[in-house]
Amino acid sequence: MPVPPFTRPCHFFSLSEWLLALLFAWIGAFVREQFPLWAMRHPHPCYGLNKDLDSTLPWSPGMLEICRGLNIPHGTFVGTKVLYVWTIDLMLTIPWSKGGTGACMVSVKPLESERYLYIDPLDRGPEKLEAEWRYAADLGIPYFVGDRTLYPGDLLGQLDALASAARLPRSDRRWTLLQRFLDRHATDLQKYPLADWVSLLQKDFGAGKPDADYLIQHCLWHQIIDADLSRHLNYRRCPTPGGRALRAAIRDSVWRNPK
């Protein structure tokens, strides 16, 4: 399934990764999954995004060097001597950062599992976390370890349900319909239940039921209708505001521009 706003299929190793990727996409970050951390020296993950700032971005010494520093083996592909390619579960590009070259690394691990609650000193898992942290520290990138239990289940479930309605390119015939709808009713969206807006789209704007549903879901995803997605959405009632504030709060927790 693609992660908005992209259309390329994505591949994740767990449901947590998928849900967190959706969450970060919702707050506006661009998600790259299974991002490689090369063994040799290589540029910053945001290298190339802004040519004016490329020269200011540090380079990573490479995982081989980092592992040497930690006195742990780097690892090779099984049965070979080819250096294994480390990957980070989610690499976020932060467009709201200054210059748009902010990044954040997220390692998705089941924090409530035995493996991370009672750490075996010889377990490779914690070693890898430490190496990832060093990598992020060398590049000045925020890094955190988490899984979906850090966020409200309802929020992630609703984002999973709304993700397919996130994209609405200008070439789509529904885009014009949405613009007409917003031109007329943008200021009143909070005042009426979502089901009423669906009916209105059908009656006044001639949209079919699937299109009307799609447009309302699109508005919810992009918080055109400020709805707190961490609470169950009742379409028969006016949406409870708070979604925009929640999105801003999560955004700040991931990346806050220095003052």
Partner: protein, 800 residues
């Protein structure tokens, strides 16, 4: 008083510039004197004693300044009370009461402390205690009242002061006076033992020294934990793992007299005992419990977990997640061609919506689970089912309860659904897939439960069921023996079962919304009605894709060819040899298709035979229709099947039709041979007739003196013809009508070869008889005038 500050609030320092270094609780604010009284919240611990320090007075303005957001160094926060502080008296007793006590120490102590300070704090003068001078006097006065002996005064004053500090620091509640019993005895910490615990061993009891036993240090604990994790694995015993630990860590290597290295374990007193190994090994984490170590990893994951969630957690829309899995049905089937032929079991793939467990579609067939069958199941879930129900004879079902759903994503295991072809197809229809780990079917419970439901409600109620058991009991009739149903019947019954499951009222407590939307309107709460309700509310993850587009991506493809009579499908199992399925042909009135038929009719012979071949999409279990995808427009054009056998398309699957054709191919040579025999017999008889005619002609020629010329032979043809016509009343010879003639007795002549009539098979088998001698020329005479038949009389009368 500041709007932010109030008695009871907790101030926490957040920078170095804060006037306090630890969290302090606000006790009293006196704005007129610019005074705020604070007391540290956290106790001090020294020499095993826990105590609270007294309050301090600070400048109110200074504190308020530090709360200013522009210069923030102090924050207002809160402190969670201790569990014992908010526990009731009974709860304290439950936790700390010992067998011989009526009241626990913690509760008794709390009551005593409260009784001691209550007169001071429980009254309008309590605020005076925040003046140090007045507090001292009040404390002394109270001590005098309570003391029974003069020696107790000093100690009592100290106590009262301590309890007052604890009371204020804990939030000025009675519970704050609860002693710190929960931390007594280093609760929660590992005890470092200095001597061997437990019963003394035999040598020690008998006075021997140096054999007391092994004391486990922290280092030994690490060794034990490591050994437990890595040596005690599935398939080994605890004792073996313990011995390996001894060899690795508690042994020494010695060279014997022969120069060989030998491993010698240390004395028992110098190494951990098996009991110590067991205790410290499994104590390190719940995952390391001894019973758990012997389970396979996947089994342990499956059974040893708390079920805090459910399969539809995070599911808010219909179609958000579809659960898909395959299994074999619990029954044996028979062939549609002959019910005596057993064909074994079949496979069923279910697609279930995770929100309410609504069964959206299924595949049931003889093909083992594969990408093709998974795609068919998904397509079935997405498509409207009116025509399908009609084909099955179930059009009495309410079509509103057969809801097509286009799923946003599917959750499946790692077998049939985890294939590139499935990924490509899902990608084409905009769906994703999630795969559960190996041997973790418990994570895909909706469909596993669905299988169980259908096994019980459908398979186990039909003939030929296995009841889910691999083997029958001795004496029972086996499932193959009891098998009676065909694959089509199995599909029909599964459809019935699915409909029943989806429309059965659910035994759940209805929500208010269900009452308003469903029960109030007389609609029972079923999986189908709940699903339909959510869809009406717009809670659908994906709108339905155009059915043609879905078919284009999901249906299997077969090859066929356009002919002037319609589309004939090519058999897929004959390699390069082109063989058609002739029992059914497909027609359409679509202009594109008609054009292809016309081209095939006119130009087929002049072009390569494969020129009119193309791909067609079909449902292997419903061959009433196939689809042709227009290469340029992408339009899916339906072609309807026609067959001379009216039951073929309704009762037979694709595989059945191929089987029928194979059977016919076996019988065909026999039929062809019979045709040849009959033709051969006919020709044989014709040859006899020809010989006889030739012989009579030759005899008539011989009777003449001189053979006539060819011109003489063909002359007078008209006169000959007229003469011949005059011979026969109707222009044709009619049989002689003799009343004595009986049709029951065959004429002698009829038995001779060369006469009309049924061929004598015995004579035919013996081969042609030798040509008989030319019989004497018989004059052609009309039959003896006999009474004409009524029909002949009528005709003649009319002619004349």
């Amino acid at each position: 008083m500041s709007a932010q500050l109030y008695p009871g609030a907790v101030l926490t320092p957040i920078s170095d510039q804060a006037p306090i270094d630890t969290p302090h609780r606000v006790l009293h604010i006196r704005q007129s004197c610019d005074r705020i009284v604070l007391i540290p919240v956290e106790p001090r611990r020294r020499n095993g004693r826990v105590y609270f320090t007294g309050y301090v007075s600070q400048s109110l303005m200074e504190i308020e300044e530090k709360l200013n957001p522009s210069n923030l160094s102090v924050a207002i926060s809160s402190v969670a009370p201790r569990a014992d502080a908010i526990a009731s008296d009974d709860e304290l007793d439950k936790k700390y009461l010992r067998r011989e006590q009526k009241k626990s120490f913690a509760r008794r102590e709390r009551e005593e402390r409260w009784d001691l300070i209550k007169p001071l704090v429980d009254g309008p003068d309590a605020v005076l205690l925040f003046d140090p001078q007045l507090r001292q006097e009040a404390v002394a006065k109270r001590a005098l009242v309570v003391a029974t002996l003069p020696d107790q005064l000093r100690r009592l004053k100290r106590k009262i002061q301590d309890w007052l500090n604890q009371y204020w620091a804990g939030g000025s509640t009675r519970g704050a006076l609860t002693p710190f019993t929960s931390t007594c005895g280093a609760r929660g910490k590992e005890k470092q033992s200095a001597r061997k615990l437990g019963r003394r061993n035999r040598p020690t009891r008998s006075g021997k020294r140096g054999n007391e036993g092994f004391i486990v240090t922290d280092y030994d604990k690490d060794i034990i934990r490591y050994s437990w994790r890595n040596y005690y694995t599935r398939g080994t015993t605890e004792r073996k793992a313990c011995r390996l630990m001894w060899r690795e860590f508690y042994s020494t290597w010695l060279t014997d007299d022969y120069g060989r290295l030998r491993n010698v374990l240390l004395r028992p007193e110098d190494r951990p005992t098996p009991a110590q190994f067991h205790y410290w090994g499994q104590k390190q984490s719940p995952d390391q419990a001894a019973w758990r170590k012997q389970l396979a990893a996947t089994a342990a994951l499956r059974i040893d977990r708390a079920l805090t969630g459910s399969a539809n957690d995070g599911i808010v829309n219909i179609g958000q997640r579809g659960s898909i899995d395959s299994t074999s049905i619990d029954m044996d089937l028979v062939s549609t061609l002959c019910r005596l032929d057993r064909i074994g079991s079949a496979y069923r793939i279910l697609v279930i919506d995770a929100m309410y467990g609504y069964i959206a579609g299924f595949y049931l067939g003889l093909l083992p689970p594969s990408a093709e069958t998974v795609k068919l199941a998904i397509l079935h879930a997405m498509t409207p089912k009116g025509a399908w129900l009609k084909w099955l004879g179930l059009d009495h079902h309410d079509i509103a309860n057969w809801i097509p759903i286009h799923f946003q994503s599917f959750i499946a295991d790692n077998t049939d659904a985890r294939a590139d072809r499935v990924f490509v197809a899902l990608d084409d229809i905009g769906s994703g897939s999630l795969h559960i780990p190996v041997a973790r079917s418990d994570l895909n419970s909706p469909v596993e439960v669905g299988h169980h439901r259908l096994h019980r409600s459908v398979d186990h109620n039909l003939l030929g069921t296995t009841f889910g058991q691999m083997q029958t009991e001795r004496g029972d009739v086996s499932a193959p023996d009891r098998a009676r149903h065909t694959i089509i019947e199995a599909i029909r019954e599964t459809a019935r079962g699915v409909y029943a499951e989806n429309t059965t009222p659910l035994d759940i407590e209805p929500t208010e919304e269900m009452r308003e939307e469903l029960i109030a309107n007389g609609i029972p709460i079923t999986r189908a009605s709940l699903t339909a309700l959510r869809i009406r509310q717009g809670r659908m993850a994906r709108s339905l894709m155009n059915i043609d587009e879905a078919r284009a991506h999901m249906m299997p493809i077969t090859r066929g060819t356009f002919t002037k009579h319609g589309v004939l499908l090519l058999r897929p199992d004959t390699g390069n040899c082109r063989k058609f399925i002739k029992s059914v042909r497909y027609l359409s009135k679509h202009p594109v298709i008609l054009n292809k038929f016309r081209e095939a009719a006119n130009q087929r012979k002049s072009r390569d035979i494969k020129m009119y071949d193309d791909e067609f999409r079909y449902d292997p279990y419903n061959l009433t229709e196939i689809h042709f995808r227009h290469p340029h427009t992408g339009e899916m054009i339906a072609l309807s099947g026609i067959s001379a056998d009216r039951e073929l398309l309704g009762d037979c699957s694709y595989a059945d039709i191929l089987l029928r054709q194979d059977r016919y191919d076996l019988e065909r040579p026999e039929n062809l041979d019979a045709q040849e025999r009959i033709r051969s017999n006919l020709e044989l008889e014709q040859e006899a007739t020809k010989r006889k005619a030739e012989a009579e002609y030759a005899a008539e020629l011989d009777a003449l003196d001189k053979p006539p010329s060819k011109a003489a032979l063909v002359a007078n043809k008209s006169e000959n013809r007229q003469r011949e016509k005059n011979l026969f009343p109707l222009g044709m010879p009619t049989p002689a009508f003799d009343v004595t003639d009986s049709d029951d007795q065959p004429d002698q002549e009829d038995n001779e070869v060369g006469n009309a009539g049924s061929p004598n098979p015995i004579q035919a088998a013996e081969g042609p008889r030798p040509r008989p001698s030319s019989p004497a020329r018989k004059p052609i005479t009309t039959s003896k005038p006999s009474p004409l038949s009524i029909f002949s009389q009528v005709v003649i009368n009319q002619l004349h």
